[in-house]
């Protein structure tokens, strides 16, 4: 009996690991390709591992395809992602607090509006929003990519609301008696307790903004403002067959996302599901 269970266990782990390797094969392939000579990347006889490890792809890719290097593009991506993430966290927490804890007139209406906005795909608004930003003379700047993040992001508002609803109301009441008002309850009670939800928001919104392609594609036309995702696409378009450097820069572009995931993995897994299932 025990032997049978041990065998089952081994089969299980072998299967899960093999299947998991298949899942991350595309990522491995990209990273390994970034260390290969051009002749070994594609074709019927391409080896899985590089026969000689080539490191030049990285400095070659870093130089970029025009006069700018990837240092510029990474700097741009970091600016947009960090400012955007900061805005998402602050504004979404505020709105979530209002909708979850403050009994104001019209709360139901705004909650419904928030859910509708969450379900409305962004692509539907792509053209009219572009027209508005264009009218304001802000196309070609970071503003259309960053400013909206300071106005609440429904997905995260909803997630934080679910979290706030789970906090005992007695905390608010106790704080009231101790002399807190609705503002200090937010800064002293709700915000500190929102910790895990805030970490989830930071990680997810950072990688959504970092990976975003449509926004930069619409609003950034000058290469000096390109984010990494736009720059890699440009690199692929202009140096179509120069795969080694292209994969080198692709691999580099994923590092910030991986690092965040590595540090906050535990919170992320709990945070994503907390909102969905209770709702």
């Amino acid at each position: 009996m025990q032997k049978k269970r041990a065998v089952q266990n081994v089969i299980y782990h072998v299967f899960v690991i093999a299947f998991g390797l298949l899942m991350i094969y595309p990522v491995l392939w990209m990273i390994l390709s970034s260390f290969k000579m051009k002749s070994e990347i594609l074709g019927n006889n391409a080896p899985f591992l590089p026969s000689t490890w080539v490191f030049e792809n990285y400095p070659n890719g870093w130089k970029g395809s025009g006069s700018l290097t990837f240092a510029t593009y990474f700097k741009n991506s970091i600016i947009v992602s960090c400012l955007g993430t900061l805005g998402t966290v602050i504004s979404s927490a505020m709105v979530a607090y209002a909708l979850a804890r403050v009994k104001f007139r019209g709360r139901k209406f705004w909650f419904t509006a928030m859910i509708m906005t969450m379900l409305l795909p962004g692509q539907v608004l792509m053209i009219p929003q572009y027209i508005i930003w264009n009218r304001l003379g802000l196309v070609g700047t970071f503003v259309p990519l960053i400013l909206p993040k300071y106005l609440g992001w429904p997905f995260f508002i909803y997630m934080m609301m679910q979290f706030i609803r789970g906090l005992p109301k007695e905390l608010d009441e106790a704080a009231m008696i101790d002399g807190c008002n609705k503002y200090s309850i937010f800064t002293r009670i709700v915000l500190p307790l929102l910790g895990p939800s805030i970490i989830t928001t930071i990680v997810i919104s950072f990688y959504w903004i970092w990976d975003d392609y449509m926004g930069p594609l619409l609003y950034l036309s000058k290469p000096a403002l390109y984010t990494v995702s736009l720059a890699i696409k440009g690199f692929a378009d202009t140096q179509g067959t120069n795969f080694g450097p292209m994969f080198a820069m692709s691999s580099l572009s994923l590092i910030p996302v991986f690092l965040l995931f590595l540090f906050f993995n535990r919170y992320l897994m709990d945070g994503v599901t907390a909102g969905a299932v209770k709702g």
Binding site: F15, A113, P121, L125, L151, M214
Partner: protein
């Protein structure tokens, strides 16, 4: 005494209505300026001939009438529906399968979940789209494998029949968030149900269909709606991997709207397409919600 003074002084600012609107202000501003006004503008432009820089010219329902005759548009609707009809169920089945695979409590469960979540973390990026393009390209490893199995001359992106498959797989590959949601749903199913069923002699398949699926049905509904919406509006992958080709076989609606609006500068016409798409999506979601009472099951 001091407290009483403070409340009086700040009584306006401490009124729940005022507090609520102050905290909700960011969303209210964005709802008005970035959702409501753009939607109204879009509706207006969809009845206009409009190009950036020129004044919109009212042409009534001309845009919508043209849509019906526009082969590129009707084709993009059809291929989008094909993409959603194949891709979304595949992704959900996959997500549920992996979620069930990883319910087994082991010391490395967290590590496994993290590995299976990686594709979702990076799947939407340009980097992955570029990798996919080469991975499934005519000289990439997947085609090499297929050729080694005997199908010489096979090429995904040269075939109008098969070009959609790498895109569907790229979408299904990002099953992570659905998987996590399924996993937490599975965790909440009481073990007693399974034990009772086992005593009654129900096999694993029977237990899956009579216990797991019904209890998970509200979560399936949630995942289904979320994936449908994002599936209907797929953009980045299609733009980078196939750019709609070959011969419009993967010219999904969001891509078509983008090209119509920004490449051809037919902004009014593109707005009309957005509205038709939105109505179709609303109808599909509505039908699913309406019928969901027949197939979702709530424990209490």
């Amino acid at each position: 005494m001091q407290a009483a003074k403070q409340t009086r002084k700040g009584s306006f600012l401490h009124n729940d209505n005022v507090v609520g609107y102050i905290f909700a202000a960011p969303f209210i501003i964005s709802f008005l300026c970035l959702t409501l006004i753009p939607m109204a503008l879009s509706l207006y432009y969809s009845f206009c001939n409009y190009k950036i820089g020129a004044a919109p010219e009212w042409i009534g329902i001309q845009n919508f009438a043209n849509l019906l005759k526009d082969g590129t548009f009707t084709n993009s609707l059809l291929v989008t529906i094909q993409y959603v009809a194949i891709g979304v169920p595949l992704k959900l089945v996959f997500a549920l399968f992996v979620a069930m695979l990883l319910t087994r409590p082991t010391r490395v469960q967290g590590l496994y979940r993290a590995i299976y979540y990686i594709p979702s973390l990076i799947g939407g990026s340009v980097a992955v789209a570029l990798v996919w393009k080469q991975l499934f390209g005519s000289r990439g490893p997947v085609v090499s494998l297929i050729k080694a199995l005997g199908a010489t001359g096979f090429n995904f992106f040269g075939s109008t029949t098969w070009a959609f498959l790498p895109l569907v797989l790229c979408n299904a590959w990002q099953f992570g968030s659905s998987m996590l949601i399924f996993a937490s749903g599975l965790k909440q199913i009481s073990k007693e149900y399974y034990e009772a069923a086992e005593i009654d002699g129900a096999g694993a398949v029977k237990r899956f269909f009579s216990i797991t699926l019904p209890i998970l049905s509200p979560i399936i509904l949630f995942n289904l709606i979320m994936q449908l919406i994002s599936g209907f509006m797929t953009f980045t992958q299609a733009q980078i991997i196939t750019d709609g080709g070959p011969n419009y076989a993967t010219n999904y609606i969001a891509l078509n709207i983008f090209k119509e609006g920004f490449s051809f500068q037919h902004m009014g016409y593109a707005c009309a397409q957005s509205w038709v798409m939105l109505l179709i999506m609303a109808a599909v979601t509505g039908i699913i919600f309406k019928t969901s009472s027949h197939w979702t099951f709530y424990e209490n």
